[in-house]
Each structure stands twice: as C-alpha cells, then as structure tokens.
C-alpha cells in the first residue's frame, strides 16, 4: 500500500522538504511505495527577503519569484490548488478546485499572512515592504522623499524576519546620509515592548547603533490607530506620533484553516518545539512560520526544520523510530546600512552574538539571496 505524504505550502519550508524527501526516499518513490505531494495555491514560489531592497530601487519583485515546477523534483506530485479544509480525524484534505485527498502524513507549511485591517487606518495610511504590492508602493513614495518624518512601526509580533525592521531603519539612515539628505529626514522606530527587538541580545547590540545614528526610538509602542488625514499614529500607551511617511510591519496571522482544524490559535500550529509534531492531531507536522516554536519566522528556520521533518518522515516510512530533532537553529544576516551587515547564529540553548558589521557580510547576504534558489532546489 502506498504511503501518502502531503505538504501544504510551497514556500521555503515546503519546497526544501519536498526536495529533501525526493532525495531521501528515492527508492520508495521509484517503487511506488510512497507518494509525496506538494500543494500550493499558485504556480510560483515567492522569496520574500527580496522585498527589503525593492523600496530602495535595488531589486525588482520579479527577482523573488520562480516557478515551483522548476524548483521541485519531478518525483514530487505538484498540485496547484487551495486547501479549504483539514480533517485530522479522517486524515483528509479538501480543495477549492478538485477532489479531496487522504493523507498518511501531513506537513503544514502555509506561512504568514498580513492583517493590516486589524488597526484602524493602517491599510490606508501606512506602507509596508512585507508584500510585493506594499514594497512597490513604498518604492514610489520613498524614491521621491527628500524631507520630513519617517516612522517605522512594528505593529505585531510574531512577524516575518524579526531583523528586517532594524535593517530598514539602518538602511534608510545610510541611504539618506549618502545622498546628503539625512539632516532633512527624521527617522523614528517604534517597537511594542520595552526594548528595540524581541531578543534581548540583539536589542542590546542594536540600540547603541540607533542612538549613534540619530534614529529616534519609541518603545512600549503598540499601535492602536492611524489617522491617514492627520498623518498621525497613536499607541495603546497613549503616545501620538506625526509622520510624513509611515512604514509598518503589519499584524501577521497564519491561515484560517489551521484554527478551523483545531490545531492552534491565529493560524499557528501548536507543536512540540523539538519534534515539530502537532500537539492537536496525529501524523501532522508543521514547520516554518506555521509552527509555533517561539523561534524567528525566518527562511533559515524553515530550511533547518524541513531537514528535521524530512528525516523523521523517512524514519516513519521505514518503520524506524524517528530520532531527528530541531534544536532551534537560526541564521540571519542583518543589514546595518547600504553596504555593511552583521550576522547572527543561535538556537534554543545559545543566544545570538551579532558579528561586527562589515562589507564582507553585506556581500555574503546578497550572495546568499542570489543562491537561495539552490536552497529551494534542495542543493544548498
């Protein structure tokens, strides 16, 4: 009898896992003992880190898109469809555009969605670089911006790429400085808790750089509303800031079907943070942003977790105990300007210690962004 593995979501986690299984389970796939299906709601994968550079006119959204059928091994059945229901008792998925399918093993890698509408006025009054349309609209504003107040507000956490808000203000400071406009531009960074980043080690590293570069900081700032006409953003804590250009990290959520399936709140699957197995159902894994592990919502996390889930699924298929576990490993480059970057590596046990910013690390980040497509193909 053929064992069916279904992966939902064709982002970094889903494509790395599909290719990992194609390699790891090649004999079983060839013999027809195993089927691996990757379901995605569109034909392309979107590599979101490209969007950080779009507002500065350095990258195009198309640089972050590739066809999934060119990324995923031919041994994987690629299904372009939208899952509408997950029934974990019957182990069945329903789809928008075709027949339902049963699974023996399900992996949810559905990622994050943006919910700016949760904050009144945010969608109308704010820009973002956390979506393709947001990044291109912000580019239109930013490229012609020469003076005034820019507010970068982190509205919700968890959000994708926790370093990206710091990167944006470091880059914008340097970008205006190099163009001789910095004295005419105020930059203010707001964060929901009492420091500038969720991780205290990264916050401790970043804060002096922000002070040195004249980036204003408002902590304990949880946006409550935006007035697009008055151009103000007001926090739950009672602080009101004026802006000429508001860039926000909008509230994030996972997809609705996860909560509907009883697997976790707000679209994040409650998992064992080491095995990545869902706590609310048998034979279900989650990885990447979708898995509520407490580690950053970052591509490197999805990449490493995919390797763990791949090993565990292969063990299951072969009737062996699954022993691979995820240790919280996270890697992240952090841009500190237009031509310098830092780097952090950490896990559940070992905190990050940001490397001194250098041009070499900046080029390493850009080089990795180019070679990412080898990761998606399972080669790097």
């Amino acid at each position: 009898m053929t064992e069916r593995i279904v992966i939902v979501g064709g982002g970094t986690g889903g494509s790395v896992l599909a290719n990992d299984l194609a390699d790891r389970l090649e004999p079983e796939l060839d013999a027809g003992d195993v089927e691996v299906t990757l379901v995605n709601d569109g034909p392309e994968q979107v590599y979101k880190p490209v969007w950080l550079y779009v507002p500065f006119g350095q990258r195009e959204p198309a640089d972050g898109r590739r066809r999934l059928d060119e990324l995923v091994d031919d041994a994987v059945d690629l299904r372009i469809d939208r899952v509408t229901d997950v029934d974990t008792d019957a182990q069945r998925l329903r789809f928008d555009g075709g027949p339902s399918t049963e699974y023996d093993h399900l992996v949810l890698a559905t990622g994050s969605t943006l919910e700016p509408e949760l904050i009144p006025g945010l969608a109308e009054g704010g820009h973002d670089y956390y979506s393709e349309s947001g990044a291109t609209a912000l580019r239109e504003e930013l490229l012609s911006f020469t003076e005034g107040e820019i507010v970068l507000s982190v509205v919700g956490t968890p959000h994708m790429c926790p370093a990206a808000p710091l990167e944006f203000v470091f880059m914008i400071d340097d970008w205006f400085r190099k163009r001789g406009l910095r004295e005419d531009v105020e930059v203010t960074y707001t964060y929901p808790i009492q420091r500038v980043h969720g991780n205290p080690h990264i916050a401790e590293w970043a804060r002096p750089i922000m002070d040195e570069r004249g980036i204003n900081v408002e902590t304990f700032f949880n946006a409550e509303s935006v007035d697009p006409d008055a151009k103000t953003i007001t926090s739950m804590e009672g602080t009101e800031l004026d802006y000429d250009l508001l860039v926000s990290i909008p509230p994030h959520a996972g997809v609705d079907l996860i909560e509907e399936a009883g697997l976790g709140d707000d679209g994040w699957v409650d998992v064992d943070k080491h095995t990545l197995e869902a706590e609310g159902a048998e034979n279900v894994y989650a990885l990447g942003d979708t898995a509520a592990t407490g580690v950053p919502n970052a591509g490197s996390v999805a990449h490493y977790q995919a390797g763990v889930v791949g090993q565990r699924l292969a063990s299951d298929v072969r009737g062996r105990p699954a022993t691979a576990t995820y240790d919280g490993k996270t890697l992240c480059f952090i841009e500190t300007g237009m031509d310098a970057a830092s780097f952090v590596e950490f896990d559940y046990q070992n905190p990050p210690s940001p490397a001194p910013p250098s041009q070499k690390l900046h080029w390493s980040k850009l080089a990795y962004n180019e070679s990412y497509w080898l990761t998606a193909r399972g080669l790097l």
Binding site: P158, Q194, F220, N222, M236, G294, V295
Partner: protein
C-alpha cells in the same frame, strides 16, 4: 484572615475578585520572551474597558515585562498569583 494594612486588604480583595472571574484567560506557558507580554497586549487590545485578563506565563521575564507595560499603558496589574510552575497575572483594561 487578619488584614493588617490597606495594601494587604486591597490585595486580598482583588485576589478574591480575580480568582472568581477573569473575563479572559491567555495561556502563554511555554512561550519564549516576549511572547507572553505580546499575548497579553493582544488580549487587552480586543477587550472592553474594565475587563480582567488573566495571563498564565512560566517565563521569568514576565515578572518585569508585565508590570512595566501595565504601568506604561495605564492598565492595572491587579495581582500576581504564584503557582508551582507558572505565574498568573491579572490585568484590568483601563
């Protein structure tokens, strides 16, 4: 139980009230920092004025995060219950 001063009396009264009926409980046990505080802020965001939120957290940092944020935001930390493996923070939305 003898109440020796107003502070203790207040705490006792609040304890009785909150033990009876928080309007919402947010269970953040197991979440890494700043998860519990962000869960609390999310619950306060959608609560009505006067509602009492009970936050369950086993993260030591919550003992400083929650009082600091409550003070900053004008919401009131009514009491903190210490349990064997976690603490329960009762916060009333202003």
């Amino acid at each position: 139980m003898e109440l020796k001063d107003n502070t203790n009396a207040d705490r006792f009264q609040r304890s009785l009230m909150t033990e009876m009926d928080p309007d919402e409980t947010v269970d953040s046990r197991g979440a890494a920092c700043p998860g519990p505080l962000m869960d609390l802020i999310g619950a306060i965001r959608s609560a009505d004025s006067g509602a009492v939120i009970r936050l369950l957290s086993d993260n030591e940092q919550s003992h400083t995060d929650v009082p600091e944020w409550a003070e900053e935001s004008g919401n009131e930390l009514l009491t903190v219950e210490e349990h064997d493996d976690h603490a329960a923070f009762y916060v009333e939305k202003a």
